[in-house]
Symmetry: C5
Subunit: 319 residues, 5 copies
C-alpha cells in the first residue's frame, strides 16, 4: 500500500472496510496503481447513443469482450459498463480488472428533454458479477432531480452496506440549463459538490469551460467579485483546482470525462491541466475505443504517462 | 449436447446453471433441437389485438390448447403466451414443450399513443407453470421507456435468480418515432443492442427494412459514411448481419418476427436472409396459427427446413 | 360431484386444489348447484351509485343482511358485495352461501371520465370473512388500463396462491370508447378474452348488443368478412356463442349481467339466449333487489328455472 | 355492559375481539357511557386552519393538554387529535380517556382545490400512544378519491388486525361538487354509506341540509319521486333518519359534526334532531374549545343532557 | 442534569428513553449546555446554493472538517449537515459534538417553483454515523405538501423508534404564498404549529416579520381583532412569544434561523428578542461560517453570551 493510496483512504475514514477495500482495489490496479491517479474505461455509449454510432468506427468494439481486453491491456484502473455488457465477459475475465456496474442508463430514441436515466441494474447484480463499485449518472438541474437523487441515495446506501464503492457521473442538464451552462465552471463545481454531498466516493464531471453561467445571479456575483481574484477562470489548471476544491477541498476523488472524440493534443492539454490542478484522473471512452486497438493502447499509454508525470513527446494521432 | 449448443451456452458463461439449463432446454427441443437455430410459436395476439382479429380466420385457435398442440406437433422450440392462455393448458401439456410466459401485454382498446404494456404475470407464475423463460415486450423510444426498462430489469433479475431465461421483444415505438422509423435498420440494430444491454438472453426484433432513420443526425451520418462501405443496406442478409453484430457481435441469440401475415415466398426469403445473415431463428405467430392446421404444420416445417439448410422447393400457399 | 361440475373443473386443471374447491363450492351451491350454471347476486350499487338510487325503491335493501337473505333464500350460487356490506353479515350468515368479496369499487360523486376503481379490500380480507372468491372490476379501453390490469394480476396471484377463485367484471369504458362501443359484440368478446388472459376463473360481461364497433378497422373488417358468415350478429344466441367462444372456446365460465332494471320479458329473453348460446349464467343485481322480497324470489326463481331448462310460463311483473 | 352497548356491538359481529373491546371502551366512557350515544372532542383545527384561527379566541387551547383536560372533565366519550397533539399529553393522561389518533390531515396554506389529506400518522403510532381508534378523513367526490379510499383501506385493515376501531370523517368535497352539494341530503347520505362500505366502525358526517343535489340526475329523480313520500326533506329529524338508514339501516354508528361556531340554540336544535332521528351523537370541536373553560363545560354538559333525554332549559350563551 | 433540561424533557414524556437521551445530549452540550438554550451550526448551503456561493467568502469552509471544528470550538450544541459532509468527518470527530443528519435537501440548479426537497439520507445513515437526530426541511404551502408531510412522518416514526430526535425546518414557500407571506407572523406561527403536530422535537422557523399575511381572510380577521390586543405585532419579542405559543404553548423547542448574512447589530437584536420572547435559540449558518475563523468564534461567542443573559458590549463586525 503506497502512501498516496493510504492518504486517500483516510479521506473515507468511517466507511465500511469492504468499501475501503474496493476503493483500494481500484486505486491499486493497472499502470497507475498506487499513484493515487486513475484512468477508467467506460463503455455505455452503445446503450446511450446506439451501437453503430458507438462502434462502427472500430467494429471490434461490438464485442463486449473487446473492452474488457482494452481496459486490461492498456492498464486502466477499472472498466465500467451497463449490465448486459458486463455479464457478457464477467466470467471470462473474472478477477482481471476492477469492474464498475453502471446501474442506470439513458437512451437516445426517446429524446426526453427532462433527462432521467432508467435504473437498469442493482447492487445485487454488482455483487454477483464481482464488481468493486456501482456507477450512477445524475443530471442536476433536471426537473426530475428528486427521483435521481433519491434513487442514488438508496442504491448508494445499499452499495456501501455491501462493501462496494460508489461512482457518480454528475452532468448538469435539463430544466433551465442552456447547453453552455452545462460545462460552465460554476455549474461543474456545483455538480461535483452535489455528488460529494450525496455520498459519492468517486465523482466524474466534464472538463470545465472558461465560462460562468449567470443562471443564478448571486452565484454569478460571487464569481465576479471573489473567485476571479483567486481563480483565473481562463486558466484550465485553476479551473480544475476550483472544481476539486468544491469537492470537499480536494478530499474526494474527482475525475474528468474526455467528452466526444477530439484532437489528441487537445486531450493531452486537458490531462495536464487535470494533473496539475489536483484532479485525480480521467474517464475516457469514445476517445479510446473508437480508434484501432494499437492506437488506443498507445493513446491510453500516453494519457497514463502524463499522469505519471513523464515528459511525453510521442503524442497522439494529431501530433 | 451438440457443439452448436455448447458454443452458444458459452456466450452466457457466468449465468446461473439453472438459467443455462433452461436455455439448453429451449435450444435442444423440437425439430431444430441442437442446431443452435430456433422457431418459437408466440400467441399473444388475442390479448393485444382481440380474439376475433386473431382467431376468426382459423377458429380452432380460440382454444388455447390448439396452440400448445401446434407448437408441439410442428416441432417448435418453445411456445410463448400470456398468463391465461398458458394456465389453460399447462397441466395438460406439462413437460411436452418449453414454455415462455409473456409477463407483460398491451391492448388495443385503449389506443394509447405512448405505448407501455401492463405487467400481467410474475416470475412466480412462470415457476408454478413450469416455464423455461419469461418473455417481456419493451418499446424503446416511448416516453415511458424508464418504466419499461426498470420493470424489465426487476423481472429479469428475479427470473435469472430463479434459474429462468429471459426473452425480450424489443419494438421501437412511440414518442418521436414515425411508423417508418420503427423498422429502420439503425433503429432495429439499436433495439437489439438495448435488449442485450438490459440482460436479455434471447432478443426478438422485427425484420429490418432497407431504410435508415434520420431521427438522430449523428447516427445517420455514421451509416451514410461508414456502415454503407461494409453493409449493403439494400441486401437483407447484410442487414441481418448488422443487427446480430449490434447484439454483442453475434454472441446473443437474436430472432426475428414474421409480422403480419404475408405471402409465403416473402416469408421464406426473409428466413433465408436471417439464416445466412447470422440470425438464430424466427418467432412466427399469425403467419402460422391463422391458417388451417395442416397448412400451418407444412408452413412451419418449411421454415424449419430452411433453417436446417435443406433445399426447399415445396413452398407455401403462395408458391 | 356431478359430471357437469367435474367437466368444468377440468378446464381449470393446474390451479391449486384450494381454488378448485372454492370454484366447486360456488358451482355446487343453491338451486342450480351441480348443473354447471350459475346465478350470482351482486350488491355493490350502494357504493357505486349511492344508497338512495340503489335501495329507496325497496328500502329493506338498506340493511346488508337483506341481501344475504335474498341470495340464500332465492338459491343463488353466491353473493358478491364490497367489504363493508360483507362484514355486516359475514358472522351471522357464516357458511350459508359462498361469498365473493368485491375488492375494488368506483363511485359516482367524482364523476371521473377515465374510469379506474379504487382498491377497497384485500385477499386477506376475503380470507378472514370466509369468502370463496375475490371479485374485481376492470375497464378495458380506459387510459388507466395498466394500473387496473397490474392490480388485478397482483390480487389474482395472491388469491390463487391462497386457494381462492377470481371473478372479473370486464366492462370496456373510457378513452376512445363511445357509449355504443361498450356493448358492441366485438368489444364484449374482446373484454371476455382479456379477463381470461389475465387469469380470471369466472368472467362477467354485459349482454352483447347487435352492433359491431368500428373503433379498430382491422377488427371491423374481420367481422364484416368472416364472422358474419358463421355468426348471425342479429341473433342473440349467436352473439352469446361468439362471446363464450372468445373466452377460450367455452372453457372459461362466462356469465352476463342484467344491467339496469328493465321489463322481465326482455330479461327472460336474454337468459334464454345466454342458456342456449353456451353462457353459464347471470349476475343479477338491481333487477332483483330493487323489487319487493316476494317478487324478487319469484323473479330469481324464474331465471333459475330457465337455466334448468324448464318451460317457464309464470313470467315476471311485465308478463 | 348495558343492553344498548351489547346491541351495538352485535352489529359489528365478526370483528376482532380487540376491536370490539375498543369500541366498547369508547361507548362506555364518560357521561354518556353505556347509553349508546357519543360525544367526541376533536381538535385538529390547529393543523387544518392554523393555530391562531383555532386558539386565539381561548388561548388556553394553545396547550394540547388543555383539550385532554376538557374532554376528560366534560365527560366526552373520546378525544381525537393529530399525532403531535396526542404525543404532547399521552403519557400524562394515559388511561384517562379513549384516544382517537387522526392519521391524516389537510392544511390551509397550500389551498389545494383537489382535496386529499396527507397521511401524518400510522397504526403503530396509535398503538404506542395507547389509542382505541384511528381517525381518517376522506373527501368523496375529489379527483383524488382513489388514493384516499385505498389508503383508508390499508390503514383500516391494519388497524382492525391490531384490534383498533376505525373512525371515518366522510366529507364530500372537490371535483364537480359545488359548495351547496357538500351538505345536500343525498350527498351526505352517500358519504355515510361510502364510509360504511369501506369498513368504518364509526362514521362522521356533516349535519345534512334541506337540499337535494342535482349532480346526478338519476339520484335526483329518486329523491323527487320516492324519497319525498317517506322522508320530509324539510324536517331535520327525517333527514337524520335518512342518513342513518343509508348507513346500513342504522346498524353503524353515525355521528354528526357541529361545523363552525354558531348560536347555541341552533346547535341544540340539531342535537335534538340527531337524537330523535336515530343519530348516535356529535363530534364537537370549535364550538366547545373556542369558548372559556366554564362555558365549554356547561355547553358540553347541555349537549350530553340532550342526548340523555333530559329536559334542558339552562341553554347556552345565546339562550 | 439541570432543572431547565429536566423540565424540557418532561414536555416530551412518553417518547422513547433513547430519544430523550439524544435530546438531552443536544441540550447538555457546548457553552449553553444545561441552560435550555441552543445554538446549532447548520451547513447545508453547499448543497442548496452551491459551493462557491457558500464557501468562497471564507474558503476554509470548502473542507467539511472546518465546520465540525467550528461547531466544536465555538461551543455549539450540535452540528447539522447533509450526508456527504457528515460522512467526511464523522470518524475523525466521533463523539465530539452531537450531530444532526439533514435527510432531505433542495438544490438551486433545477429552480423548481413547487419546492420539495429530495430525500438524500436515511435513519440508518444517521445511526451508523452516530447522530443524535435527523433534520428534515418541509415547505408548508407547496402543492407538494402531501409528499413532504408523509415522508417526514415516515422518517420521524423510524427515527423515534430508533431513539433519535427529530428536528424540522418548517419554511412556508410555494403555491399561493408570495415572498412576503413566507415570513409573515401568522404564517410563521402556523409553520411552527405544523411541525409540532407532525411530531417534531425541535422546530426551526425563520424570524417572524411584523407583517400579517392576508392569504386566508378568516385568519387575518383573527389577527386584526384578537391577536393585536395581546400581541404587539410591531414588537419582535411579542412576535417570538406568539410563535412559541403556537408551538404547543411553549412546550416544544423552537429555534430561529439567522437567514442571509446581515449586520451583526441586527442579528444581536433578533437574538435578544428570541431570548426574551421565550425562544430556545438559534441556528446560525452563513452568518458564522462565511466569516474568518476568529471572527466566527467571536460572533458565536457573543450570540451565546446573549443567550446566557450576559451584558454584551463587544459586539460584532458592524459594532
Amino acid at each position: 500500500m503506497t502512501d498516496q493510496v493510504r492518504e486517500i483512504l483516510k479521506w473515507y475514514a468511517g466507511q465500511n472496510p469492504g468499501t475501503l477495500t474496493n476503493l483500494a482495489r481500484i486505486l491499486n490496479h493497472g499502470k497507475l496503481g498506487g499513484t493515487g491517479k486513475l484512468v477508467i474505461l467506460p463503455v455505455d455509449q452503445g446503450f446511450e447513443h446506439g451501437p453503430a454510432r458507438s462502434f462502427a468506427k472500430n467494429p471490434d468494439g461490438y464485442d463486449p469482450r473487446y473492452h474488457y481486453r482494452l481496459a486490461i491491456e492498456s492498464g486502466c484502473n477499472a472498466y465500467a459498463a451497463p449490465l448486459g455488457a458486463l455479464e457478457a465477459g464477467a466470467a471470462e475475465f473474472a478477477g482481471e480488472i476492477p469492474l464498475i456496474l453502471k446501474v442506470n442508463n439513458n437512451e437516445l430514441l426517446s429524446g426526453s428533454t427532462d433527462p432521467c436515466p432508467a435504473i437498469t441494474a442493482s447492487v445485487d447484480d454488482a455483487l454477483r458479477l464481482g464488481c468493486c463499485a456501482i456507477g450512477y449518472t445524475m443530471y442536476p438541474g433536471s426537473p426530475l432531480f428528486r427521483a435521481m437523487y433519491e434513487n442514488l441515495h438508496q442504491l448508494a446506501e445499499e452499495a456501501k452496506s455491501a462493501g462496494l464503492a460508489v461512482v457518480v457521473w454528475s452532468y448538469p442538464r435539463g430544466g433551465k440549463l442552456e447547453k453552455e451552462d452545462e460545462t460552465s465552471l460554476n455549474v461543474i463545481a456545483y455538480a461535483a459538490h452535489l455528488a460529494c454531498q450525496l455520498g459519492a466516493h468517486i465523482v466524474k464531471v466534464k472538463f470545465p469551460a472558461a465560462h460562468i453561467s449567470a443562471l443564478d445571479k448571486e452565484t454569478y456575483k460571487i464569481y465576479d467579485e471573489i473567485i476571479n481574484q483567486h481563480v483565473k477562470v481562463a486558466n484550465p489548471i485553476d479551473r480544475i483546482r476550483h472544481v476539486t476544491t468544491a469537492a470537499f477541498n480536494g478530499r474526494r476523488i474527482v475525475i474528468f470525462s474526455g467528452g466526444p472524440a477530439k484532437g489528441d493534443d487537445k486531450v493531452f492539454e486537458e490531462i495536464k491541466a487535470i494533473r496539475d490542478g489536483g484532479g485525480f484522473g480521467s474517464i475516457i471512452g469514445r476517445n479510446s475505443f473508437q480508434r484501432p486497438w494499437n492506437k488506443a493502447i498507445e493513446f491510453l499509454g500516453t494519457v497514463m504517462d502524463l499522469y505519471l508525470g513523464k515528459n511525453v513527446e510521442r503524442g497522439g494521432e494529431n501530433a
